[in-house]
């Protein structure tokens, strides 16, 4: 409880800087690798990396609210779909470059997050969870009945030709997603290491006590909800180009909602690298299973992993490694 606000924390314990240079450097290094290798390796590996990075963004976004503040968002697929359909709507209006579409998707999905939060965050956390569940259904109904973006018929989004200096459009998508993942992780780190993260953690541990000691609870939660929605929307924005044909069932896919929750929980929700680790581990496992076991058993494994982790290792991989290191030290 000492870390409730910066003024109260003892000066001896210096926090790491909110901006993480190592992550920035690592992210840029990955982009550089993608730029040099992208034209040579099989497209399969690019697509594989794209999916995993998409999950890194989704689970990092989910964790800003779910892990730091303890509010569970079931509506990831809804926010993701809002991102998808923002791109589609913009594409129908004019030839908008992808980065701009991503920004727009972030704004729209962020506002929807803000609105939902504003309506329900004053209640117990579980009401928020149920509201997000309902939100996804309402959004899907709206999209189904909105013929401009294809409605129930779905919409075709043709992949444009490759843009220089990229060898293929898939490579371009991958680089864009890498940058997005980097931004999401940097944002999560910044939150985690600043007074915002402290405040959110206080809310998670005891909301009443936090409010009583001066944490601006509602405002912090709204900030987290907005960011969470925005990142999920941004993760969805390039998806139409990935899949070329989007209809409501594929945009509002359950796999998205499940993974966005399972990945941070398996990785560990306490730190920024928990969701990243979870997304990489689980995302990679799923992709490998798709082309090996290749049956419904694939999803069964995700379910079992999730149950095993929350019962036996509630702190996730992060917690296990920490406990292990602690024992060795």
């Amino acid at each position: 409880m000492t870390a409730l606000s910066p003024s109260l924390s003892p000066p001896a314990r210096r926090l790491p800087k909110p901006f993480s240079w190592p992550v920035l450097v690592a992210g840029l290094a990955i982009v550089a690798v993608e730029m040099t290798l992208g034209a040579q390796v099989s497209e399969y590996y690019l697509l594989l990396a794209y999916i995993i990075l998409q999950y890194v963004v989704l689970s990092t976004g989910w964790n800003i609210l779910g892990g730091y503040a303890g509010y569970v968002n079931f509506g990831t697929a809804g926010f993701f779909a809002v991102g998808c359909y923002t791109t589609i709507a913009l594409e129908k209006l004019a030839a908008v470059p992808l980065p701009l579409a991503i920004l727009a998707a972030g704004v729209v999905a962020g506002l929807i997050g803000l609105g939902t939060g504003y309506l329900t965050l004053r209640l117990r956390g579980v009401f928020f969870s149920i509201a997000t569940l309902a939100l996804a259904v309402v959004l899907q109904t709206l999209i189904v009945n909105w013929s401009f973006v294809g409605g129930s018929r779905g919409a075709y989004v043709m992949r444009p030709d490759a843009i220089a200096p990229f060898a293929s459009y898939v490579q371009y998508l991958l680089v864009v997603m890498t940058v997005l993942a980097m931004v999401a992780v940097l944002a999560a780190i910044a939150i985690e290491r600043s007074w915002i993260g402290m405040g959110l953690a206080a809310i998670r541990d005891d909301e009443l006590a936090a409010e009583a000691s001066g944490v601006p609870g509602l405002r912090l939660k709204l900030l987290a909800t907005t960011l969470c929605g925005a990142f999920m929307g941004m993760a969805g924005a390039p998806f139409p180009y990935f899949i070329t044909y989007v209809d409501p069932p594929s945009a509002f896919s359950l796999a998205i909602a499940v993974n966005a929750i399972a990945m941070p929980l398996i990785g560990g929700t306490a730190t920024w690298w928990g969701p990243v680790l979870g997304a990489v581990l689980l995302g990679f496992t799923q992709q490998v299973l798709t082309v090996t076991i290749s049956s419904a058993a694939n999803l069964l494994i995700v379910g079992i992993l999730l149950v095993v982790f929350v019962t036996v290792a509630p702190t996730g991989v992060v917690g296990i490694t920490r406990a292990w290191r602690g024992r060795r030290a």
């Binding site: 309506l119 509201a131 569940l133 259904v137 709206l142 359950l254 999730l306 149950v307 019962t311």
Partner: protein, 291 residues
Amino acid sequence: MNFSWDLLLNAVTSGIMLGGFYAAVAVGITIAFGMLDIVNIAHPAFMVLGAFLAFLSINTLGIDPFLSALGFAAIAFVFGRYFYRAYYHFFERRGDDSLQGLAFFFGIMFIVEISLVLIFGVDYRLIDLPYLATTYEIGIVQIPLRLAAPCLAGVAMLVAIQFYLSRTFTGRAILAVAQDLEAVRFVGADPIRTKEIAFGIAMASAIVAGVLLIIIQSVEPSIGREFIGRAFAICVLGGMTSLPGTLLAAMILGIAETMTSTFFGPSWSPAVAFGLLLLTLAFKPSGLLGR
């Protein structure tokens, strides 16, 4: 849309019959989530499990689904008790039941669903009971038994549970748990055992609801997801801990759905139901009957 009394009365009747079934689905949520504070989002998955059990029992053993429902409910009750004990051991005792518990049920939902896929495949299954094929006509109102029987069964189950809760010692202890966990100790009941029994009842009700489901419509393993939102909506609308409130909310949701689909075009009916939920959460979180 051209209005007529015929359509209106029939829409309301259909809505009530649908609502009776919704009540059967939601009663378990009201007990688990409303009273015990356990966010069992796997409830509808267990319901689908019940549907497949009924399908299996009528096609291999030839047992009438309404009869087998009772047997399965008894098994589910016992299973539910152990299930709660495990849940208590792993989550409530540790004190981190909100987030981890949710994720736990999420995983359970998946395991149940995929196991059904692996065992039964993804075909739609249906039970067609010859004795439910008749449709009664009372004046201009049509009452197909296929919908009326599950509605009656659902309402009967809800009423029976309500009686149990208000008339027996354990039942009252469950209601007391819903209000205040510590209060239970004063009346001399073991709170864990009380919650065990309550969760067992919730689990049994899920299985019964599943048997009703497969009589009403074709069922495939992942169909339970469609009911998660509806069931929680009903529970919240009904005021979380009240079974009469649950029944009322279920009826309102059922009628709202059939009215929209009769008069405005069914495309919008999910938005009506969930819009109602969002509004309730925003403006009257204590539910319809709440103070």
